[in-house]
Amino acid sequence: MAEEREETELNTATTERQEPSARAATGESAAAVVELVGVTKTYPGEEESAVADVDLRIREGEFFSILGSSGSGKTTTLRMIAGFEQPTIGRVFLDGNDATDVPPYRRDVSTVFQNYALFPHMKVQANVAYPLKMSGVPRREIGPRVKEALERVSMAEYAKRLPHQLSGGQRQRVALARALIRGPRLLLLDEPLGALDLKLREEMLFVLKRLQREVGITFIYVTHDQGEALAMSDLMAVMNKGRIEQLATPAEIYAKPATSFVAGFIGKTNLLSCRHVEGNRAEAGSVPLILAEDPKQSQFTLSVRPESILIGTDCHSLPNRFVAEVSEVLFLGHEREVLAKIGDQRLMVRSQDLTVGPGDTIEFGWDPKEAVIVEATGG
């Protein structure tokens, strides 16, 4: 702890943030760094809204992710926070102040662009120094701070290179250093790892997480990769067609998806459309199921994660138990994905048994508590 404190003390940028963090420390409910209120964005000449009626509150020091497939409005949301776009309807608050009409250069927000946007004519050090130069930091202070910022992302030895002489991962680090050097209140990252290969991506995930811990500022991280979002975030929002489908912690989103879209988008899942029979009993097609509690609707969708389905002897004590025929098997390395047929339903289960093949029968079942009702489909 003490060591970490010292490290942040050294960082001149953090001194500027002491007032709000002090407020957080005094136990006041953590202030919202960003707040979007009823924000809708419709691009001129477009019919559909890119972002529709979004409400968001992101607190101090959070690692917040926005997850969604491409075209779901993530970038647009981020750009409105940065100030590059104006909402068509709604307001954007930064630190409690209405910032809807504030131009980007007057916002205490930094962005790491998807394509890095390093200025091609400036050396690495000039790129990183740029925000300091623009905010009028005295020349003699700039040198050491640039050096420190580059060291933090292990890029000090590349200070004299031009951006096109760097690899993708290196540019990424420089972009991070540039975004962080002013010690912004808020860092926006738009699919920052999108252009990197798998190995670099994992490495950068660690770099990002470490940086966020070290500097303690709020991150808003946009990605279409559920793995990244689940691994990194304190809180995440799942977006679809411009709307937020669910806003919760990764664990909650994984365990209790609010909609079938979320359930399908996060991890693999079995979605069963069910009909309520009576009490805690329901039917998916012709297959009878036991639920954990009485459903409130007569028609609903049930999500059952493959990993919560137990196979063979493990499932003997479970109320939902089926014998099914294997129709397909996919080898995944450490396990197999088995597509099983019960009645008119198909379910995906995971099996460590290496001998299962198509045509075999397997026995499986799940604890009703593991299945989640994600959507009502009828009154």
């Binding site: 630190d95 102040n97 504030v102 991890g267 693999k268 339903q345 198909r346 379910l347 995906m348």
Partner: protein, 312 residues
């Protein structure tokens, strides 16, 4: 960097809005002035071509079409126009063939030195007209070629060819090479591939380039002046009129020629725009021809599912 100090209060906001609007108006007016400046000569010429006075001054003396009818009765002017059209047609034809050949050459021969090749071919396009004119003139004199139709054609082809070449290279760069490869895979040789796949893909750009070249040729004076013999092209003839005794008939001629040029230009622009859009949309012009050859090299990309898979 206190955030409170960054939030503009209402007065500041109102102030900056006023500044913004004033600045916007100033910039708008300045831009408008430039446009007026650029189009003033054309508008003045067009206006005075229907002004009922031999003196070019305000105020207007009333509307007349007599300069136009004078123009159509001026045999010398008419034969100059005819000569110009002939020169332009031949020069553009030569340039189209040469430009197409050079564009394909530069595009195909992916070797060092094509940059220099392009640069050398383009030199007449960027050289001052005077230098191009006199340098060709001395060569022709040395070769005992007397100035006339063919010397003008050579001078015009020298700068229209690179223009067409560049337009075609641009198009070739954005074209899909897999179509040609597909055609070759289907057993069509170089020549048949060129005829059925490559050329149709370039056709629109080639036509547009020819139209642009045509207007350039019709209007050219700096080079032509040195290369013309006894028979003048229209600009050379008008040059003479302007220097020795001017009639407003010239305004009428200018207006007609400019109108024609703008018409061709609009047409060429539309062609280029449409073909560019088609190409960008992934529907190359040559797709039907390629299909005719049984060369459907592009399979539809498998639709990718995003995120996790859904089962059930």
């Amino acid at each position: 960097m206190g955030t409170s100090e960054r939030t503009p209060n209402n007065r500041m906001k109102a102030n900056s809005k006023v500044v913004k609007i004033v600045l916007g108006v100033v910039v708008g007016v300045a831009v408008l002035c430039v446009y007026v400046f650029l189009y003033a000569p054309m508008m003045v010429t067009a206006l005075f071509s229907v002004n009922d006075s031999t003196i070019q001054t305000l105020p207007f003396q009333g509307f007349t079409t007599k300069w136009y009818s004078a123009l159509f009765n001026d045999e010398a002017m008419k034969s100059a126009i005819y000569f110009s059209l002939k020169v332009a047609a031949v020069a553009v034809t030569v340039s189209a063939v040469a430009g197409l050949g050079f564009a394909l050459l530069v595009h195909r021969l992916q070797m060092r030195g094509t940059g220099a090749l392009q640069g050398l071919i383009a030199a007449p396009l960027v050289a001052p007209g005077l230098v191009l004119g006199i340098s060709l003139l001395v060569v022709f004199r040395q070769a005992n070629v007397s100035p006339g139709f063919w010397t003008i054609v050579a001078g015009h082809a020298a700068f229209i060819t690179p223009l067409i070449m560049f337009i075609l290279i641009q198009r070739l760069k954005t074209a899909d090479p897999s179509l040609e490869q597909a055609s070759m895979d289907c057993g069509a040789g170089y020549i048949r591939t060129f005829w059925h796949v490559t050329l149709p893909g370039l056709r629109v750009a080639l036509i547009a380039g020819c139209l642009l070249g045509f207007t350039l040729s019709m209007d050219e004076i700096a080079v032509t002046f040195f290369l013309a013999g006894t028979e003048p092209t229209l600009p050379v003839y008008v040059w003479g009129l302007l220097r020795f005794g001017f009639t407003p008939e010239v305004n009428a001629a200018f207006t007609l020629i400019a109108g024609g040029s703008l018409l061709l230009l609009t047409f060429a622009g539309l062609l280029l725009y449409i073909s560019g859009r088609r190409q960008r949309a992934g529907i190359p012009n040559s797709i039907d021809q390629a299909e005719g050859l049984g060369a459907i090299g592009v399979s539809t990309a498998p639709s990718t599912t995003e995120g996790g898979t859904r089962t059930v």
